[in-house]
């Protein structure tokens, strides 16, 4: 079964896609249909002045282990570093640039074979900071000191020719289970029972345009908004 026979629609050709729902934790497959890895995290390039874009897929224990600790306050991540103190670049994950990504659908398909493909993430260019999508997800969104919700997902605008996806808006809500299932995004329909329950849990979910974000405090996990999130854009 060649990869082209399972085409399906390519989200890279759409106006937008959601980082956590459509990209994170997906299987990565190469041009010959061989499995490469899983998308363990996403590389976010921060050029300051609120211009954030996803520029690569991050792979490997250095990317995955911090995502497993959650409320344990990065304890697992620190343990990972402590177990490999003698290694250089222990905290650096492996990276796949977006230039090799061909198709995003039920899996992430690359345009090259997998041999020797995964390499350690290089240091950032001057004036640019490299961050991780997992740090942005779950941040508190505050307006005038009041917490409105958490970042449940990040809406990205694919720019294929530039090999990056620009952060367009943040999906903000009360951060309950079911946010990864797509019901609140109008993506999935049945079954009725689950859809109704999730829609009820996520009735306060909204979309905050990146222009309505004053600052993002990466150290303390706070997004400072200038106005409340608007209604969720459910068009596909």
């Amino acid at each position: 079964m060649t990869t082209t026979e399972r085409a399906g629609r390519n989200r890279l050709e759409h106006a937008w896609l959601d980082a956590a729902l459509h990209l994170l934790d997906r299987q990565v497959v190469d041009s010959e249909g061989m499995m490469v890895c899983n998308v363990d995290d996403l590389e976010v390039t921060d050029r300051g002045s609120r211009e954030l874009s996803v520029t690569g897929l991050l792979v490997g224990p250095a990317a995955l282990v911090p995502r497993l600790s959650g409320r344990l306050g990065g304890w697992l991540g620190r343990m990972w570093l402590a177990l490999g103190v003698q290694y250089a670049g222990r905290e650096l994950p492996l990276r796949l640039g977006l230039d090799v990504v061909e198709h995003v659908g039920s899996e992430v398909r690359l345009r090259v074979p997998r041999d020797g493909l995964l390499d350690q993430q290089s240091p950032a260019a001057p004036g640019v900071v490299l961050r991780r999508m997992d740090d942005l997800l779950g941040m508190d969104v505050v307006l005038d000191g009041k917490v409105l919700g958490h970042v449940l997902d990040v809406r990205l605008e694919p720019r294929r020719r530039e090999s990056r996806m620009v952060v367009r808006s943040l999906i903000v809500g009360r951060g309950r289970p079911g946010s990864l299932l797509g019901y609140d995004r109008g993506d999935v329909n049945g079954p009725w029972m689950v859809a109704a329950a999730v829609k009820q849990l996520h009735r306060h979910t909204g979309e905050l345009g990146i222009d309505d974000v004053r600052t993002i405090d990466w150290e303390h996990g706070l997004v400072d908004a200038t106005r409340p999130p608007g209604p969720l854009d459910r068009r596909r």
Binding site: D25, L180, V188, N189, P191, M193
Partner: protein
């Protein structure tokens, strides 16, 4: 004949789900203690696994993604890794038990010491997983496992009162000396055994191994609708034979030889020959199924290449997991642990892992990115939701019941 082989995957999956070493003993125990009063539970379990195996098979055919891919993707890495621990623990426990079960079956005919048989079988299972073509494995083991049809023949030969059987089943006619808590424990055990997660891991991954596409949905559904009901029928046959022969004697079934006793009574030496071949094939098939499932789950969670459809060097980590699992199994069995006890514990724990496995399947079967035009309709969603509720109830009740009833020994 080739038509038969097209459904071999379904039959082999069902063998691992309904007549592996744990189920052989559990079903006989059920029949000996409860007669046919739990028959409806087995049938409900058959419908449940059909619903979810069809969904996971459809997802695999339409998208090439097997079930554990969906678990990590839809529940996130944290819940995914919890499910991974639980599922792999259960699957490995069952794998260990199955290899032990093959040894038990062989020891019915020879007196070679267990210490010699177990490593030999372990290495043989690993060799099959390493080298044998997937289709050869499923065809041979599926065909030989069907020797267990001898139970249906024996039941016919024993000539029970079918009316009694039917009324026991339909009215849930529990024998007076057993209490309802123990009945519930057996019900949860039967349901959990029918719907063990490794069945859908194996079935969906097997579908990818067989390179199913959207054009093969008919074959996939034939596998489901022939394989699992057949497995359920064999389960009921074993329980029925035990009900006729062992229940009047108040036998407490704990050994494989007792499971085979009704066949000896009904059909004599020829029947015993068939049933021993059936035992060996079914437990060997279940060992292959659980070994592969453990490898599939781990590889799919981390994104590694998996499968027998590529050369072993191209899926090196997957095969390394299989080697380590085999070494672990041989090591544990050499301590002399009773395989049947291992599998009875694992059945109950698998009930806990059930909701975390079936929920993502139900969600993804509705996702049009994955399924295109083959997303769930109303029927699949209604049945799926109904069984998801049952699965959650079973998961919540499993461990308390096991503790209160002392694993079925009585309150």
């Amino acid at each position: 004949m080739s038509k038969f082989f097209a459904v071999a995957l379904g039959i082999l999956t069902a063998i691992g789900g309904f007549v592996d070493i744990g189920d052989l003993v559990f079903n006989a125990q059920t029949g000996a203690r409860f007669g046919m009063s739990l028959a409806v539970i087995t049938m409900v379990g058959v419908v449940g696994i059909c619903v979810f195996a069809e969904m996971s098979g459809r997802v695999a055919a339409c998208s090439g993604r097997a079930t554990f891919d969906l678990v990590r993707e839809r529940l996130g890495p944290r819940m995914g890794v919890l499910n991974l621990f639980a599922s792999v623990a259960v699957t490995l426990m069952t794998f260990i038990a199955e290899i032990g079960g093959v040894a038990l079956a062989i020891m019915l005919v020879t007196s070679i010491s267990e210490v010699l048989i177990v490593p030999f079988i372990g290495i043989l299972v690993w060799a099959v997983l390493w080298r044998a073509k997937f289709s050869v494995m499923e065809n041979v083991l599926g065909l030989l496992g069907l020797c267990l049809v001898v139970y249906l023949v024996a039941l016919w030969q024993l000539g029970p009162s079918w009316g009694d059987f039917a009324s026991q089943a339909v009215t849930f006619d529990k024998p007076g000396k057993e209490d309802w808590l123990t009945y519930s424990y057996f019900a949860v055990g039967l349901f959990g055994a029918a719907m063990t997660p490794y069945e859908v891991f194996f079935f969906s991954s097997g579908g990818v191994e067989e390179k199913w596409t959207a054009k093969d949905l008919g074959v996939m559904r034939a596998n489901v609708l022939i394989g699992f009901p057949l497995g359920g029928l064999l389960s009921l046959g074993i329980a029925g034979c035990a009900a006729v022969v062992l229940q009047p004697l108040s036998v407490d079934v704990a050994a494989l030889s007792q499971v085979g006793l009704p066949i000896a009574v009904a059909l004599g030496k020829v029947g015993v020959a068939f049933v021993i071949v059936g035992f060996v094939a079914a437990t060997f098939g279940a060992a292959c199924e659980t070994g592969l499932s453990a490898g599939y789950s781990i590889a799919q969670f981390f994104g590694w290449q998996w499968g027998k459809f590529v050369k072993p060097t191209q899926a090196a980590r997957f095969h390394l997991v299989l080697i380590l699992a085999t070494i672990l199994a041989i090591g544990v069995l050499m301590t002399g642990v009773d395989p049947i006890l291992v599998t009875e514990i694992s059945v109950v724990f698998s009930a806990v892992a059930l909701p975390l496995t079936y929920f993502p399947i139900l969600v993804v079967a509705n996702d049009r990115d994955y399924m295109g035009e083959h997303a769930n309709g109303v029927v699949a969603n209604t049945l799926g939701s109904f069984f998801l509720v049952l699965v959650v109830v079973a998961a919540v009740a499993a461990i308390p019941l096991m503790v209160i009833t002392h694993m079925g020994a009585g309150v």
